[in-house]
């Protein structure tokens, strides 16, 4: 009798250990099985890499189904509707039904489309977002890979996603799509500047470019040390994945659907998958860089707790992204560019310089003093920026080149003497 109890207890302990750290145990088990079959070490690692990569990518793709449901449901609530509620409990299977439908829809390729960019664009958009998942640490042991240039990799791969949008714009042979492509370029290159500038701050604090190292080094969440940088990063990452209020590349009211206007079937669906997944990865990246990632009580010894902590943090950030999407109206392109180049970028430069100096001046072991002084500096910068925008900027004289000119002048019956400064044919 005691032996049976002993066995049950061992089994339960094993189950608990498995739930606590599934990846390491699966890894050990699979390595054991494969080496039992006579595979050598390199082959085992390659097989495990393929399995791990495939499960992360597939996990990401199927997670999108849930994200689409979440977005529609939350959006419905924001707009005083119910959202999907017919297919399955709380409409949970609605995206699955949509997915089945979209698989059977015809691909309509517009005449004169540039075939290679046109067909490559959806693959690039989704692939780039999926590739980001490789460097996100979900827990101390659950991550794709902790490369030593993780942050730079994030920026590089993020740009490939925008490249997909640009290719869609160029290849579609459609004016709306092309204008969306131009805007995508402007969007990407503009908001990347403040984003990368404040991205330096977690790198500075942790002394590493690896995502898992940054998460691991956050004894204090970096949002407490650099609140303004976190805010800039958050805004820039919303803009970077062209969410509302920065969704100028698919502005329904002016560009119909923007870059994806000529797409149909699953190619169209792929852009949507990329969009939803991009928001989710943006939330995960923000949570990792500024909210401590998987750090939390007990997360080091029981990795699954870290996964839960990261999920909670990322969900909060994702909800914030949704909240902004459904409550803030869309910017105009000039407002968006002005906001970036005349506000966010100078602010990011000042914040970076100030944080670097202040944090160096204070010994890193005085945590409370560090947080306090950083907060004071950040609030001071914010107040100064606010005063500048509200008081000084409206008084500034607008340069001559910025004056709006009429595109076409009505023909004048008797040209006055001012005609000399408007040469005919000078400005179109």
């Amino acid at each position: 009798m005691a032996v049976i109890w002993q066995n049950i207890l061992t089994f339960l302990q094993g189950v608990l250990r498995f739930i606590g750290d599934p990846i390491t145990i699966l890894n050990q088990w699979l390595t054991g099985v494969l080496s039992g079959w006579g595979a050598n070490a390199t082959l085992i690692q390659v097989i495990l890499a393929i399995l791990g990569g495939a499960s992360l990518v597939l996990g990401g793709l199927f997670f999108t189904v849930f994200l689409i449901w979440l977005e529609r449901k939350v959006g419905g609530r924001f707009q005083d509707r119910l959202g999907p509620n017919r297919v399955g409990p709380w409409g949970l299977f609605q995206p699955l039904a949509d997915m089945v439908k979209i698989f059977t829809k015809e691909y309509i390729t517009p005449t004169g489309a540039d075939k290679i960019p046109y067909n490559l664009a959806p693959v690039l958009s989704v692939g780039a977002v999926l590739a980001v998942i490789a460097v996100i640490p979900f827990a101390s042991t659950i991550f794709g890979v902790n490369i030593n240039v993780g942050v730079v990799y994030l920026m590089a791969v993020g740009a490939i996603g925008e490249l997909g949008i640009i290719m869609a714009g160029l290849g579609s042979n459609n004016k709306y799509a092309l204008i969306a492509g131009f805007r995508a370029v402007a969007n990407l290159i503009s908001y990347e500047v403040p984003m990368v500038l404040v991205l330096l701050i977690p790198v500075m604090f942790s002394g590493s470019l690896g995502m898992n190292d940054i998460a691991r080094s956050q004894n204090v969440w970096y949002i407490f040390l650099a609140p303004l940088s976190a805010a800039i990063f958050f805004i820039a990452s919303i803009a970077e994945n062209s969410r509302a209020p920065f969704d100028l590349i698919e502005a329904d009211s002016e560009l119909v659907a923007g870059f994806n206007v000529e797409y149909s079937g699953l190619k169209f669906g792929m852009f949507y998958v990329a969009d939803f997944l991009h928001s989710a990865t943006a939330a995960l990246i923000f949570a990792t860089l500024f909210l401590g990632g998987w750090r939390g009580p007990g997360a080091e010894s029981i990795p699954i707790l870290g996964f839960i902590y990261l999920s909670v943090k990322a969900t909060v950030v994702y909800f914030l992204i949704l909240h902004i999407r459904f409550t803030v109206p869309r910017f105009r392109i000039d407002q968006m560019m002005n906001f970036n180049w005349k506000f966010l970028t100078p602010l990011a430069l000042v914040v970076l310089a100030a944080t670097a100096v202040v944090d160096k001046a204070i010994p890193s072991n005085l945590t409370a003093l560090r947080i306090g002084v950083n907060w004071i500096v950040n609030i001071a910068i914010w107040v100064a920026a606010d005063r500048l925008v509200r008081v000084v900027a409206p008084k500034r004289v607008v340069p001559e080149v910025a004056r709006p000119r009429p595109l076409a002048r009505p023909p004048l019956a008797n040209p006055p003497q001012a005609a000399a400064e408007h040469e005919p044919g000078g400005e179109a």
């Binding site: 990569g53 490789a134 370029v185 079937g265 002005n338 160096k360």
Partner: protein, 118 residues
């Protein structure tokens, strides 16, 4: 010899192959009945006017030029940020000087009107 980079390579292949496979699969099972009207370019229901590949606004190009400066800047700042914990205050102030020069460049571009959306 198995490094993180080989894993990343495998991951990238999977990440780009799966959407491609899905699109190809959907292409196989979906109907294919093209006709000239269906394939025509969408332009709010009217006949498309002129060339679709229109000229772009020169302002995009100016932003591109300014971006180039800042992109090179951040590439130079990343090694500094990684070494930040080992740096003295003097090393940090040097980087601040570097950032200040770039801020001056931004102000110059601003004064010249390069940041205005015409």
């Amino acid at each position: 010899m198995f490094t993180d980079w080989i894993y990343l390579g495998i991951f990238l292949v999977i990440a780009f192959a799966l959407p491609l496979a899905a699109i190809t699969f959907a292409g196989v099972i979906s109907p294919k009945k093209p006709n000239p009207i269906k394939d025509s370019i969408y332009e709010c229901g009217i006949e498309p006017i002129g060339e679709s590949r229109i000229q772009f606004k020169v302002q995009y190009y100016v932003y591109g030029l300014i971006f180039l400066v800042f992109d090179v800047e951040t590439v130079l700042l990343f090694p500094w940020a990684v070494a930040y914990n080992q740096l003295t205050l003097f090393g940090v102030l040097e980087a601040v000087l570097f950032i200040a020069i770039l801020a001056a460049a931004l102000i110059y571009a601003w004064r010249k009107g390069a940041l205005e959306w015409l």
